[in-house]
């Protein structure tokens, strides 16, 4: 008779280390849903949409809130609503699929496990995102979790929520609009020249910082870090070495091109106003 060795607590590790990437649109949407939640609800729950990139990262691109009812011992989620919204969203963007769900609030509660189970039936290995809207720690906490099943032999014990690294990134166009997105009130959208002005101011501040740092290092006020020093020298060396003559020629040529275009466009606008007068002039018959 074979001896039955001690049963071991098996934790099935995830094959690859999953990490998640969240677009700021999702955070905005979650905050908006939280602000608009019905009066009796303590937190908001919703679905996360996105895709899984080839290297295993979960890219969360969009989300929508799902009405739910929560009491002490049970949770009810409006599944029809969830499916309706999913089909509507997929009509616009068929590539977006369910990758998980979000909830506002700090911890992962017992009811979260039930909801997570529901979502694991919809998508494989869903990601659970918690967005702490109450700032319990005095700062923002956005965490992502994946559930790992703990099983004892054949018996399924519990699901452990393991935290997963999260990356919040902004695409270029959104970065341009970032000035506009941060404060609570912006009076008007900056136009071309104002944007350039702000940008040049920032560049100047950057260069000043680097200058100050180098000064500090030279005068031994700050400990030297050879990596930073090498980086700075690399940056400065990457300026193309052109003779002043060639450089001036380059700049002047581009200036002339731009001036030409400006001239052309002013001619065109003048032509337009003349054409306008001609077209609506009274007919002399």
């Amino acid at each position: 008779m074979a001896s039955i060795g001690p049963t071991v607590l098996q934790l099935i590790p995830s094959a690859t280390r999953v990490s998640a990437r969240v677009h700021p649109l999702v955070i905005f949407n979650v905050c908006d849903c939280y602000v608009r939640r019905p009066d009796h609800a303590e937190r908001v729950i919703g679905t996360l949409l996105g895709s899984i990139l080839p290297d295993g990262t979960v890219d969360i691109r969009n989300c929508y809130a799902v009405p739910h009812n929560e009491s002490l011992d049970q949770v009810a989620l409006d599944i029809d609503y969830h499916h309706n919204m999913l089909s509507s969203h997929q009509k616009v963007n068929p590539k977006e699929a369910i990758v998980g769900w979000f909830s506002t609030g700090f911890e992962v509660t017992g009811s979260s496990a039930l909801i997570h189970e529901f979502y694991s039936r919809e998508a494989s290995n869903p990601v659970h995102l918690t967005v702490d809207t109450e700032f319990k720690n005095g700062e923002t906490t956005i965490k992502a979790f994946v559930a790992i099943n703990l099983s004892l032999g054949d018996q399924h014990l519990a699901a452990q929520f393991q935290e997963v690294p999260l990356d919040l990134r902004m695409v270029e166009a959104e970065k341009v609009g970032f000035d506009v997105l941060k404060p609570t009130n912006v009076d008007k959208l900056p136009n071309d020249i104002e944007g350039m002005e702000a940008l040049m101011g920032r560049l100047l501040a950057l260069i000043d910082d680097v200058y100050k740092y180098v000064d500090d290092v030279v005068e031994d006020r700050v400990a030297r870090d050879s990596k930073i020093g090498r980086f700075i020298s690399d940056t400065i060396a990457s300026l193309p070495k052109l003779s002043p003559h060639a450089f001036n020629k380059l700049v002047n040529d581009s200036l002339q091109d731009q001036l030409l275009l400006l001239y052309l466009s002013s001619i065109t606008s003048t032509q337009l106003s003349v054409a306008e007068k001609l077209n609506t002039a009274a007919q002399i018959l």
Partner: protein, 337 residues
């Protein structure tokens, strides 16, 4: 004796509420992000979506939006589009989003959005909603480092003219309407809820390093300018075609006038002869004669729209050229150091 300070109920009910003119469009950061994301994902295809919000006094608040799926040119799919819209509105209402349509947004390519379809869509919306606005987003320009978002509205005088479908030169002179007056641009204000603002401040630290949007410092603007000038040239071709139409019309009109005069002379001579012979004079008009048929004047709407587009392109070129100047001078200054 009637007190002049108090008005009778009838009087108050009779005076119409003057609608305050729309001064500002207030958009939430969420809507901007959604529009950017949607337009960028499908660029270069053009996409549209619906704007939801509230109409408060002289401010039009836009608080949410949802995209429209790309529609095929098929009859049965039209109904599906309407269904999709109703479904989305119903679902959004359940989560307490403002259920009120205030307009629509669309993406554009290099600013070529002034078309007859735009005007027609405006008129359709205007039937149902008192105030609606159209937001135009240009993803190609945003790659240059400018947030190219514009809020447009048709001017009232233009709308009346369009309804009567009368675009002759006289009518336009009467109303003193030129191509500048078709679209009115409304300034945009952005507002964010305090919660969102707190999150953003934490997530993106205030250090200048992460904040620099280096796209603006790109020196190579030539592909963008090239496309712009290409479109400008095409539009000029269209404009010259329209002008030729007018020339043709004028020529025909003057030719017809000359023919009419000649015919009238002949008639008069005949009448003189008949009077001398003692017969009844013939009428001096003959509506059945084709030379008296009035030639319809071509509509000026197309030329107005094209003119608008050209003006837009010119403005864009000006803006980009201005930016390039600053960049080039910056380069020069850096190099000298």
């Amino acid at each position: 004796m009637a007190n002049t300070a108090t008005r009778s109920f009838l009087q108050v009910a009779a005076t119409e509420e003057a609608t305050t003119p729309l001064r500002v469009v207030q958009i939430e950061g969420l809507v901007i992000l959604k529009i950017i994301k949607h337009c960028k994902e499908f660029s270069p295809a053009l996409v549209t979506g619906q704007l939801l919000g509230l109409d408060v006094g002289s401010v039009l608040e836009v608080t949410n939006c949802f995209p429209f799926p790309i529609r095929e040119e098929d009859e049965e799919i039209e109904a599906e589009g309407a269904n999709y819209q109703l479904e989305m509105m119903r679902c959004l209402r359940e989560v307490n989003v403002d259920n009120n349509t205030v307009g629509w947004y669309q993406s554009t390519l290099f600013g070529s959005f002034q078309t007859v379809e735009l005007i027609e869509t405006f008129m359709n919306y205007q039937e149902n909603i008192r105030r609606c606005v159209c937001i135009i987003y240009d993803p190609s320009r945003s790659n240059q480092g400018v947030l190219a978002l514009k809020a447009l509205k048709l001017s009232d005088s233009f709308m009346e003219l369009y309804r009567s479908n009368n675009f002759t030169g006289e009518k336009l002179r009467e109303k003193n309407l030129s191509w500048v007056d078709i679209f009115e641009e409304i300034p945009i204000k952005v507002s964010n809820s305090a919660l969102v603002s707190a999150f953003m401040t934490e997530l993106e630290a205030d250090t200048p390093v992460t904040q620099c949007d280096y796209d603006r410092l790109q020196l190579s603007t030539s592909p963008f300018l090239e496309r712009n000038v290409e479109f400008l040239i095409e539009c000029m071709d269209d404009l010259s075609m329209e002008q030729q139409k007018f020339q043709f019309y004028y020529r025909n009109l003057s030719r017809q006038q000359a023919q009419q005069q000649a015919w009238l002379q002949k008639r008069r001579a005949e009448n003189m002869a008949r009077k001398n012979a003692g017969e009844e004079p013939l009428p001096e008009e003959d509506p059945s004669n084709p030379i008296f048929k009035p030639i319809p004047e071509p509509s000026r709407l197309d030329s107005f729209l094209i003119t608008n587009q050209i003006a837009n392109y010119c403005n864009q070129i000006n803006g980009v050229a201005g930016q390039s100047f600053s960049r080039l001078y910056l380069m020069k200054a850096l190099h000298e150091n």
